[in-house]
Symmetry: C2
Subunit: 172 residues, 2 copies
DNA sequence: TATTGTTATACTCTATAACTATA
DNA sequence: TATAGTTATAGAGTATAACAATA
């Protein structure tokens, strides 16, 4: 109740002093939470990454899948699903997409005829290289000369938050 | 081509040595990117936050909206949409949800009869307090005794990444 | 003519259940 | 019976176009 108790219906300080847009809203409370900053920052990163990958015909998840398949040739879909933290059911269309573009192949595993081994094609390996280069540029843009030590602190903090959800008292 | 070139179809080292699950997949390349760590960590934070808010009948976005309305009583929907970075169209159902639960009220603005001023009800203010307490607990769980200095470094880094998208050479 | 709130719609992402073929 | 891959589907989240009321 601190908004000048006169009778005149003050039309909101924020609404008055706007020259172009209207971001005169205080998010001070939310700024007290690290999760809020993580979300806002990640939104920016995600948007830029998707723009970066669009010319290559990749999305964030198809890019991640391609990288993991090149780095772990022969892995099975269920392993990839676990690594990407997506449901097996949802991984199917992702792998479909990569296979349709001849970036990877689904190869029957002789020892377990239920499973498919995922392997990159030469085209897949080539796109992998191009995508990595593009994403390196994206990261450089996002970090914009951030000190290496700061980066490492952030990575350690993120890893710690992620690991915290895995139970276990074994320190890393 | 480093997988023991014998004829025997080696069934993938990862697939062999699994005791319980199958996370024997290397994500070393992706780990070189800070964005990857941000995503993985934020997934954990988001999941835990939603679990934290569920008993209060709130989702991340309705919680954020409630906080901004309590902290900025009288703000208009378009301002809230801008602050939350969601489309006005999508904000409608969010505000509907809060209004239906009598946590906020939509009050006609006399000076601009197109707009609604959003104000918290006493119930809204009460839930705000309960939600903040719950989220403080959530953050403490996520950060698990992280040093204050580390937290500040992370927040500054996140802010910098977010701000980087706003153009401008004025350093902060 | 532009803006606020609104409706309708579509597209992506994600989560779940159930099916098939193998084990 | 359990598992790998698949299908279908439903629920969120998000983005766009168009409309009525008002400026």
């Amino acid at each position: 109740m601190s908004r000048s108790g006169a009778g005149k219906p003050t039309p909101n300080i924020a609404a008055v002093a706007q020259g172009e847009e209207s971001p005169q809203v205080s998010d001070a409370t939310l700024c007290g939470f690290i999760g809020y900053h993580m979300k806002r920052a990640f939104n920016v990163v995600q948007a830029d990454l998707n723009q970066t990958l669009k010319p290559l015909g990749l999305r964030m998840v198809t890019y991640s899948a391609l990288v993991l398949i090149v780095d772990n040739p022969g892995l099975r879909q269920s392993q990839l699903a676990a690594a990407l933290d997506v449901e097996r059911a949802n991984l199917v269309v992702i792998v479909d997409e990569l296979e349709r573009r001849d970036l990877i192949s689904r190869d029957r595993v002789p020892s377990d005829r239920r499973a498919y081994a995922l392997n990159p094609t030469p085209a897949g390996r080539h796109l992998y290289e191009r995508a990595l280069e593009a994403v390196r540029g994206h990261e450089a843009r996002m970090l914009n000369g951030m000190e290496e030590e700061t980066k490492q602190v952030v990575i350690r903090a993120m890893s710690r938050i992620r690991r915290g959800s895995e139970g276990g008292s074994r320190g890393g």
